[in-house]
């Protein structure tokens, strides 16, 4: 299946956050490795604090000030991103690497028109101006299905709905034909029917522009809709990764299984109780030894509390880190 060099290669990435007094170290991303092929869509699934967004921010080089990458390597197109200067990264972002964040009201500046915000990357990276710039901008807005684009260019964000704003963020993200688009909870702020429309759009952009996509989400439904492969994160580690169908039909890690079982489904009838994962996610600055899921795991064994399990291969491309899988 794998041909040539992957577009993105993350190896043993470790990102830590220092608490304000410097006393505590939060291991937000703790030894994450994965590859992304060209044209592939990868989902990163996890709950808050699992490290999914920090993984995305580490790749993009937009970590908050208190966070730093303390280990590992990130290769994009063969080049080591961690060896690049801030200026080189800035040039890469918006041009080859691009992103869509959760809330369009936060990503867009309320004081500037849609036109001026869409023009910024095109001026910077493509040196467009005048009629060429205008033409490119209306093309982009049409590509994300914004009706009457000329009029919209003169409007401000408050004059549009949330769904439309997220489309504009999408237009800005693809304006310079990036190779990799990272979408962090791209539809969480949208209503269901609008969310469905936006996921259609992402799919269509991916196929027509030959984009590679990383979708960061807490929602298995979103991942099922878009992704070829998913990885499930817990406490800064990848606990399971594999082809989307494998993860859904044949989940192996107890955390993945429990998460899937805890989602209510309207089409199931009868008043059944949801399966829950007891307890709370761990404090990332005081991780227990061994597997961080052990305190909540229904099938925990003594070894789990001592030693972190290695990755076991379950099938083609499907791996899970769990001692129980090893026993089986």
């Amino acid at each position: 299946m794998k041909q040539g060099e992957p577009l993105l290669q993350v190896m043993d990435l470790k990102t830590q956050i220092l608490s304000r007094d410097g006393g505590r170290v939060v291991r937000a991303v703790d030894g994450v490795s994965f590859e992304l092929q060209r044209g592939e869509t990868l989902g990163i699934i996890g709950e808050s604090g699992s490290g999914k967004s920090m993984t995305a921010m580490s790749i993009l080089g937009i970590l908050p000030e208190a966070a730093r990458i303390v280990g590992g390597q990130i290769f994009f197109n063969g080049g080591n991103l961690l060896a690049k200067s801030a200026e080189e990264m800035r040039r890469l972002r918006g041009e080859q690497l691009s992103m869509i964040l959760q809330d369009p009201m936060v990503s867009l500046d309320p004081l500037f028109t849609i036109g001026s915000q869409l023009a910024e990357p095109l001026r910077l990276h493509r040196s467009l101006s005048g009629a060429a710039l205008r033409g490119r901008m209306t093309d982009l807005l049409s590509a994300v299905s914004i009706p009457s684009p000329e009029m919209r260019l003169h409007q401000h964000p408050h004059q549009m709905s949330g769904g439309m704003l997220q489309r504009i963020v999408g237009a800005i993200a693809i304006s310079c034909d990036p190779q990799l688009l990272i979408a962090d909870e791209p539809t969480t702020a949208l209503d269901p029917t609008v969310q469905a429309q936006f996921l259609d759009l992402l799919e269509q952009l991916r196929d027509s522009k030959n984009l590679s996509l990383i979708v960061v989400t807490h929602d298995f439904g979103v991942a099922a809709r878009l992704c070829d492969h998913v990885m499930v994160m817990y406490a800064g580690k990848i606990v399971e990764k594999g082809p989307i169908r494998e993860i859904f039909d044949n989940p192996k890690h107890p955390y993945t299984k429990a998460l899937l079982a805890s989602i209510p489904d309207a089409t199931e009838t009868g008043n059944r109780r949801l399966r829950t994962i007891e307890g709370q996610p761990p404090d990332l600055s005081q991780l227990p030894p061994g597997c961080p899921f052990a305190p909540r795991c229904p099938s925990v064994v003594a070894r789990c509390r001592v030693e972190y399990p290695p990755e076991y291969e379950i099938g083609p491309d499907h791996v899970a880190s769990c001692w129980q899988v090893y026993v089986q």
């Binding site: 029917t193 099922a224 809709r225 805890s262 709370q280």
Partner: protein, 330 residues
């Protein structure tokens, strides 16, 4: 014979736009809630679903009397709520409580958990200090928290634990009806299931009735006996959870259910694609409000608003010309 605990009769809430003053009589109105009626049997749950701007939260606010109705009546246990004053209103506010979406903003960060949960009891003034302390400890145990945590502040708790605190506060006055406004949408998937199970246990234990407002169809269908689907201030379909989720009849309900993202790569029914977004409630489209996005819109839909009528024999009602024999003939 089950009794009707809550009844809404033709509720309307119109918000005027712009400034009051000269010529204000002709101000445009946002019809946030427009002729909404439903009944809730004691001990059961009603779920109100819809997208932002459909009026579901305004409906909840009307039920809590946080806003006054523009027209229509709310009956609680047979008594008029809107005109209640003094003792009767205090009584209503004891019996109807609310749990809100965001446990980060609905709990006062400067109050200890003990005081947050006890505040309604202190305001009510019927219990002594020792009694209150014991009841708070019991409430915390009931919602799955350690009573020893009563002296801590909200920031020391996770989101799921905070929602448990909010639920304990909601139950402190032993209400009969709890309004749940998006109670789990701010929570993580694994925590969401814990809270939904807790709400079900509490309902059984205290014989509670719920009105649950949510945009997540799966959550509402899981929790509620009856579902009402709202669009632009109106109920477009209402029926038992099973019936509505298994065979939605109104085109909007059908589209909403088909936009669900079930957590499986297959088994997704073909999606009914809606174009455009929800129109403004200031100038809702004439006729059926949904006709601008409806895949089955007919000429009659642009002119005549369809009435909410019984469809089928499962006690369901829906407002769509496709479902009324008169329009189908014309």
């Amino acid at each position: 014979m089950t009794r009707i605990l809550l009844e809404a009769q033709n509720l309307r809430k119109y918000f005027p736009l712009g400034r009051a003053g000269f010529g204000a009589a002709n101000r445009p109105m946002v019809k946030a809630v427009d002729d909404v009626s439903f009944r809730l049997e004691e001990g059961t749950s009603l779920g109100i679903v819809g997208e932002s701007g459909c009026g579901k939260t305004t409906t909840a606010r009307l039920l809590l009397r946080l806003n006054d109705v523009s027209a229509g009546r709310i009956l609680f246990d047979g008594a008029e709520v809107q005109t209640a004053t003094g003792r009767a209103l205090r009584q209503y506010r004891n019996e109807v409580q609310a749990v809100f979406q965001d446990p980060y903003s609905s709990l006062n960060p400067r109050m200890r958990v003990r005081n947050i949960v006890a505040e309604p009891l202190i305001a009510q003034g019927k219990m002594g200090r020792k009694e209150i302390r014991d009841w708070v400890a019991e409430l915390l145990t009931v919602v799955g928290l350690d009573p020893a945590a009563a002296g801590r502040f909200p920031h020391e708790f996770s989101g799921g634990q905070r929602q448990r605190i909010a639920i304990a506060r909601g139950l402190s006055l032993k209400p009969r009806l709890v309004i749940l406004d998006e109670p789990v949408s701010a929570l993580d998937v694994s925590i969401r299931a814990q809270i939904l199970n807790l709400l079900q246990d509490l309902q059984d234990k205290f014989h509670l009735s719920y009105v649950m407002i949510a945009h997540d169809l799966d959550v509402v269908a899981h929790m509620c006996d009856t579902i009402a689907v709202m669009y632009l201030g109106k109920i477009v379909e209402m029926g038992t959870s099973d019936a509505v989720s298994r065979s939605p009849r109104h085109p909007y309900t059908q589209a909403l259910f088909s936009a669900r993202l079930p957590a499986r790569p297959d088994g997704r029914p073909p999606r009914i694609k809606l174009t455009g977004e929800i129109p403004s409630a200031v100038n809702p489209p004439p006729g059926c409000h949904f006709h601008t996005r409806c895949p089955h819109a007919m000429p009659v839909c642009r002119e005549i608003e369809p009435p909410l009528v019984p469809v089928g024999d499962d006690g369901r009602i829906a407002a769509c010309h496709l479902l009324t024999p008169v329009a189908r003939r014309s």
